[in-house]
């Protein structure tokens, strides 16, 4: 029977594909593979680097893939209360990041490498660390209006160190990457007193704001009044100085007028009279006024009223 090259190629390819599927396994990035030989685990059979590896088909060898990503373990018990040395009680929740660091230790420790079993144990370790660390810190270490005095990051680091110690002691092949605080709250029974205090503080804040505003507005007004008075005083001083300059000029002209003071006075009187008459003026004159003496000659007879304009 004649064999076509196509048939041979296809058959060859299929053999390769099935061979690959049967004898090769992959380890993905972020995975590790634990290969057991007849159910027995050996350190040398653990594949931690991504790539393709050879295997004997089941039941000789069995490949168990473990996820080496960082897992987030959230503390779900919101009511987990911690007693502080200053008799305060807080409810503290954390979250932690962990990964499988040593599959050889991890796999047998947690029932075929069960992540959920590992997290159960880790949650206990974190709770223990929380209790231990919280037992060393007063309430004021958790909250501080001054950022420099705030110790929360230190507390987080202390918890991380404690959890790492516990993990090391248990030798369970886990690496804890971080432990962070997720929430800090107070027991329900403490909140009414906090509300009362906050309410009182609001009243004080309002009083302070109003007093401050009053002081500031009074200061502004007083300053303005003072500045205005200063300006007017300054204006009066300048005006007086200016008038003084005019008067000084007048006095300096006396040299000329002293040649005949009587005549100078007469001229000035005339000027004054001229000035007086610039508006509509009513003059009531005696007939002895200079220039009106002529009227004296036309004196009316007794009992006769005579007014001249």
């Amino acid at each position: 029977m004649k064999r076509s090259p196509l048939t041979i190629t296809i058959a060859f390819l299929l053999i390769i594909i099935f061979g690959l599927m049967l004898f090769v396994f992959q380890v993905r990035k972020s995975e590790v593979a634990v290969v057991t030989l007849f159910g027995k685990m050996e350190q040398s059979r653990i594949k931690t680097q991504p790539g393709a590896y050879l295997q004997w088909p089941w039941p000789i060898e069995q490949v168990h893939h473990l996820d080496q990503k960082v897992h987030t373990l959230e503390d779900t018990d919101k009511l987990d209360s911690l007693a502080l040395p200053d008799q305060n009680i807080i409810l503290l929740q954390t979250y932690a990041g962990w990964r499988i660091a040593d599959p050889y230790k991890f796999y047998p420790k947690f029932e075929e490498g069960s992540v959920s079993k590992a997290e159960d144990i880790l949650a206990v370790m974190i709770r223990s660390a929380k209790l231990e660390v919280a037992g060393k810190h007063n309430f004021s270490d958790f909250l501080s209006a001054d950022e420099r005095e705030m110790k929360l990051p230190e507390i987080e680091n202390e918890m991380l160190a404690k959890v790492r110690d516990n993990v090391r002691t248990n030798d369970c092949g886990i690496e804890v990457k971080f432990v962070q605080i997720r929430s800090i709250e107070l027991p329900e029974s403490d909140t009414p007193s906090v509300f009362e205090r906050m309410k009182d503080e609001r009243g004080k804040v309002i009083a302070d704001i109003r007093a401050d505003a009053l002081v500031r507005s009074n200061t502004i007004t007083a300053q303005a009044d003072s500045d205005a008075a200063k300006l007017l005083a300054d204006a009066d001083a300048q005006a007086k100085q200016i008038r003084g300059q005019g008067e000084a000029a007048m006095v300096s002209s006396l040299q000329v007028l002293r040649q005949d003071p009587a005549f100078a006075s007469f001229i000035m009187d005339l000027d004054m009279l001229d000035e007086l008459s610039k508006d509509k003026t009513t003059w009531i004159l005696d007939h002895s006024t200079p220039g009106l003496e002529l009227l004296q000659a036309a004196k009316p007879a007794p009992g006769e009223t005579n007014a001249s304009k």
């Binding site: 992959q26 990035k29 991504p50 790539g51 393709a52 897992h71 959230e74 919101k78 979250y95 990041g97 309430f139 958790f142 909250l143 501080s144 209006a145 705030m150 929360l152 990051p153 971080f178 962070q180 605080i181 709250e185 107070l186 027991p187 329900e188 009414p192 509300f195 906050m198 704001i209 009053l214 502004i220 007004t221 300053q223 500045d227 205005a228 300006l231 204006a235 009066d236 005006a239 007086k240 200016i242 008038r243 300059q245 008067e247 000029a249 000329v256 040649q259 005949d260 005549f263 001229i267 007086l276 008459s277 509509k280 003026t281 009513t282 003059w283 009531i284 007939h287 006024t289 007794p302």
Partner: protein, 364 residues
């Protein structure tokens, strides 16, 4: 029987061998035909399997996703180069390659899950504010504590970009949840060193900046492979104390109002004073000018008339007086020349025009 064996039963001329019976011939031929057909079917199946194998390597990526090819478990390419965008792509089928599709938009968001009076689900549904309670049940309602030990509510949304998708998707089992928890931690930590008034009203920008700084610090420490673009926190007083905080806000508003009024008054007073100052100085200037001008004119007049006056003082005086009176009378509204009263009393109605009334004096 194989095709080869069936061929061996035939003579070179194509006739059946002498010992083969006609019945055998027919059976053999049928078998031969059947085998030939089977081989063709097997060949077609084999070709189909190979085609299916390679054809399964083609895959589509839609606009909301990116894809990373793992070749023997390792990502092909690094960073952005490892990401395959929307369109048709090819990868070798398993077990050579593996395609991992990841949800990807240019900008991702995450909402905080602690600190607010509504849960994230309730917020998403647009639930109404719960009724104010005189106490906070931590199992039902969430909040944060401020640096001055007050209770406030805070919620935030972080907007971030996945700058290293390989780290984001392959180094973390649930990176999105981690981003959310980091946001929770950033809100908690920031509130714990802010005063209640600063967090709520006085320094919201500084509060947001501190949350953002903490977020960036955390994602950098954890090497999450994301870049934080924006954190928009929103703060709220406890619902039971909302009115008290509103009154503080009103007082804060009134404070500047009264100060503004004082400033307006101040501006008025100073403006008036400046105006008065200017007027007073101008008046003084005018007085000085008048005095200087007047005395100058007096000097000139005096010097001009003095020689004549010295020659005949009476005549000059009389002349000057007459000239002045002419002008005076010309400008006068009313000139009354009194006659010889001769013991009578003179009274004037001051309302214009002034008209004299002559009567008998009671004093005389």
């Amino acid at each position: 029987m194989s095709e080869e064996e069936s061929k061996q039963l035939q003579t070179p001329g194509g006739n059946l061998a002498p010992d083969a019976t006609p019945a055998d011939d027919a059976g053999t031929q049928a078998l031969s035909e059947a085998l030939r057909s089977s081989f063709i079917i097997v060949r077609v199946i084999m070709i189909g399997l190979v085609a299916l194998f390679f054809g399964s390597g083609f895959f589509m990526v839609d606009a909301q996703h990116k894809a990373i090819i793992l070749r023997m478990g390792k990502p092909v390419g690094e960073g952005e180069a490892a990401l395959l965008g929307p369109g048709l792509h090819f990868a070798f089928p398993r077990p050579i390659d593996e395609v991992v599709k990841i949800p990807f938009t240019s900008s991702q968001t995450a909402d905080s899950t602690v600190g607010w009076y509504l849960t994230a689900e309730e917020r998403a549904k647009g639930a109404a504010k719960p009724a104010p309670q005189p106490r906070m049940d931590p199992a039902a309602i969430s909040y944060v504590l401020t640096g001055d030990t007050n209770i406030i509510h805070v919620v935030a949304t972080v907007t971030y970009r996945i700058s290293d998708p390989i780290k984001f998707h392959f180094d973390f089992a649930d990176a999105k949840t981690l981003v959310t928890n980091d946001l929770n931690n950033a809100l908690l930590l920031t509130a714990s060193h802010f005063n209640v008034d600063d967090a709520l009203t006085l320094q919201p920008t500084a509060f947001a900046a501190a949350v953002m700084a903490r977020m960036r610090e955390l994602v950098k420490e954890q090497d999450l492979g994301v870049t934080v673009d924006l954190v928009s926190p929103q703060t709220h007083p406890p619902l039971a104390l909302e009115n008290d905080f509103n009154r503080v806000a009103e007082a804060r508003q009134e404070g500047p109002d009264s100060i503004t009024k004082a400033e307006i008054h101040s501006a008025d007073v100073l403006g008036n004073a400046r105006g008065a100052k200017e007027t007073r100085i101008k008046t003084a200037d005018a007085a000085r000018a008048r005095m200087v001008g007047l005395i100058g004119a007096e000097q000139t007049n005096f010097s001009r008339l003095l020689p004549d006056y010295q020659r005949d003082p009476q005549l000059v005086k009389r002349l000057l007086l007459a000239e002045t009176f002419k002008k005076v009378w010309a400008n006068a509204q009313l000139t009354e020349v009194l006659p010889d009263l001769d013991g009578r009393q003179l009274r004037f109605h001051l309302s214009p025009p002034a008209t004299p009334i002559y009567g008998t004096s009671t004093n005389q």
